[in-house]
Amino acid sequence: MKFDTPAGTNPIDQGKVVGRPTPRIDGPLKTSGRAPYAYERHDVAENAAYGVIVHAGIAKGRLNALHLDEAKAAPGVVTIVTADTAGKLGKGNMNTAKLLGGPEIDHYHQAIALVVAETFEQARAAANLVRADYARGQGKYDLEAALPGAPPVPDPNANDGKGPKIDKVGDFERFFASAPVKLDQKYTTPDQSHAMMEPFATIAAWKGDELTVWTSNQMINWTKGDLAKTLGLPKEKVRLDSPYVGGGFGGKLFLRADAVMAALGARQAGRPVKVTIARPMMANNATHRPATIQRIRIGCDKDGTITAIAHESGSGDLPGGGPETAVSQTKLLYAGAHRMTAMKLAVLDLPEGNAMRAPGEAPGLMALEIAMDEMAEKLGMDPVQFRIKNDTMVDPEKPERKFSQRHLVQCLNDGAQRFGWSRRNAKPAQVRDGRWLVGMGVASGFRNNMNQKSAARVGIDKQGMVTVATDMTDIGTGTYTIVAQTAAEMMGVPIDSVNVLLGDSSFPVSAGSGGQWGGNSSTAGVYAACMKLREAVAQKLGFNATDVTFANGKVTSGNRSADLKDAAGLSAEETMEYGDLAKQYQQSTFAGHFVEVGVDAYTGEIRIRRMLAVCDAGRIINPTSARSQVIGAMTMGVGAALMEELAVDKRFGFFVNHDLATYEVPVHADIPHQEVVFLDYPDDTTSPMKAKGVGELGLCGVGAAIANAIYNATGVRVRDYPITLEKHLAKLPMVA
């Protein structure tokens, strides 16, 4: 099915199931510990041996020798995989660094061997007996030092897919120079770690030349292809199964070392092998969100009209890697006749940089939305009003191209009213509550909607149960439930008459979970399959397909009615594909983020007091899980604003704080009650679901809203994240 004209009225609009707050259908399994994650599949792989990875101890260089004798002789050891034993390996399309190092080492904690033993304890002990002799190479690890000589890069998020190196509209330099009110500031964001709770894990088993991996992955089809490519297998010989994923946030978009090493280990051992990556190895072994250094210039008329806006960002990655596209939102968020965005990409020999939740927009808005706050202050304008003043209903780079919908102004106005914004003192450092300096901040949230082709198969059985199968994943996003809601709505059955099967590469290929495209895209695929099934059902039961209704387990047309289960045995598979509505219309999601913080006047410690997000993200399929996505993203935004930073050792080239004790993410005590409001405007240009992404929107802008609240509390502007106490302590009023 191709979606190439705006959706008319369709069965989803009934809203009997879709749009209703619905508890997750996977809830009883997850809360009772019965949902099996990748490393836990005792049911599928009896007699699995345990593999433990040996990780490189240097950031760059060569392995002179890998001494395995001691490890091989250790109790229980079955086999040891190294680059020498693995044979020729390819590299996945989505991978920058190879997943098994040697003799060249590309980054710290890169896998260099897998020790397979009878038990986990034996494998871990033997892995520590592998001795590596390295020739340490010269690497580049300092972004600030590397950026001046780094080349400009194309913007992959540009609307034509391959944007120019520097996107320019009008004459930014001239109009910025002549603007009556100007801002020119530098902002930095650090490297960040996904830190999902379930570590990378895979069980691999071979049957002849066919490989099955039970793994934890967001993008089944990408990873199936990349695993096949890495191992030199035809794609059809590889099967992935990933029904439960313990968080991803972009960290599990790609094939990673656990799957490759488990597959190689199982081949070499001649039996199933299970591998997980130890938590202290994850931050350097896997991908991370790259640090950025950003420069923002805004020129305004005295009435607050932006006349010139420029956003430049520099980041680093391994050779062949990509930039953190932190300028993306600046192309679309605010009006302004004269514009420029540009990026630079330095080669760094740190671990691989790649997508983490809302890549581009998350760090980009952390900078842009501080800049907007600073500019509002220069103008003497309220920061909410300054944003509203520069709202745009068209793509500022191509004014003939409209936003499909845009309710940013309503997000900001509603939010301001609900949050009590009028009580904010515009002059910073004026509000005290005991030892706490109190401040409020606002930021716009923005993230593009993206659609991806997505397929599903839907069938009916004798009991009238509807079963949906798709290789779509649920990484905590609530996919099981929204897929069930969609099928229930379409087939006219209660939600508990729908069975959802996900994450198996033998199912029809879906959009997968990434880029906040999963919810809308995967349910649109289910919609397409259901439409096809409805036709088949109508035909089988002797109805005219055009005027038939599906409700209460019955198929009805005029006076005649039949049970849906009378169509038992029917199934349909269909793919939803997209025309160019997303080119005709800019499809984006918007939010107004409001935050109140307290800053300890003595110690400078920062604590969040209140948080509110008002979100404009199309139809909300399940307000319960969508709200959870948003509060979760807001929580991640608290981490980004206040504590998360992979600290780079610029001498040895690695992230020093590579565990969960030293890479701090928010805990319960950091998070107050969070309020979320959905405006719920169905968008008929996005899909028959009229939904949009929401999972990343909740993160976009939160960090800056916090930063702006801190400034409002203290009067000290911090432009380098995370905002830890030492960055404003010296400028806080003396207390002794």
């Binding site: 009883p28 997850k30 002990a125 570590p199 439960y244 990484i475 959870s628 996505q629 805990v667 009650h673």
Partner: protein, 192 residues
Amino acid sequence: MTATALPAAALDAAQPMPGAKPTTMPVTLKVNGKSGTLDLDTRTTLLDALREHWKLTGTKKGCDHGQCGACTVLVNGTRINSCLSLAVQHQGDEITTIEGLGSPDKLHPMQAAFVKHDGYQCGYCTPGQICSAVGVLDEIKRGIPSHAQADVAARPAVTNDEMRERMSGNICRCGAYSNILEAMTDVAGAKA
């Protein structure tokens, strides 16, 4: 429950340690009300004993270093991180895991409250959160003090700040904290 046999080859290859005592020991645990004995490598943590040997995989390994709380179980009624405990330290102990609290068809009130309030997303930290939440309400009831109390000599009350502080050893990267608190409040209210 039967002993996990090491293959003969592994035993033959065992490190020659002159005069060493064996590095496996029989461990008896009462897990979710049922006693069992396994011969375990002394290095086996309580967490790995549960996950790999008892095959109760509801208890999760998030970090294996006491930094996340996903492995929280109740031992003799008290919550601990099972990753930082050796199975041999728990001879005869009563272990309650998430599977012992309830089943999909018969959820424990805390499990049901997590479903009702959507107190989870990916589900991986969830068993630890739930075991911890059960432990926390009991600790408050028993008057165990916390950092959230203005006066540590006083008896603690079931307040939002108390529960947030006491649950802080359970990290949820999906960020379901606000909902978890509502689930706990629901259960605590029902109890009171």
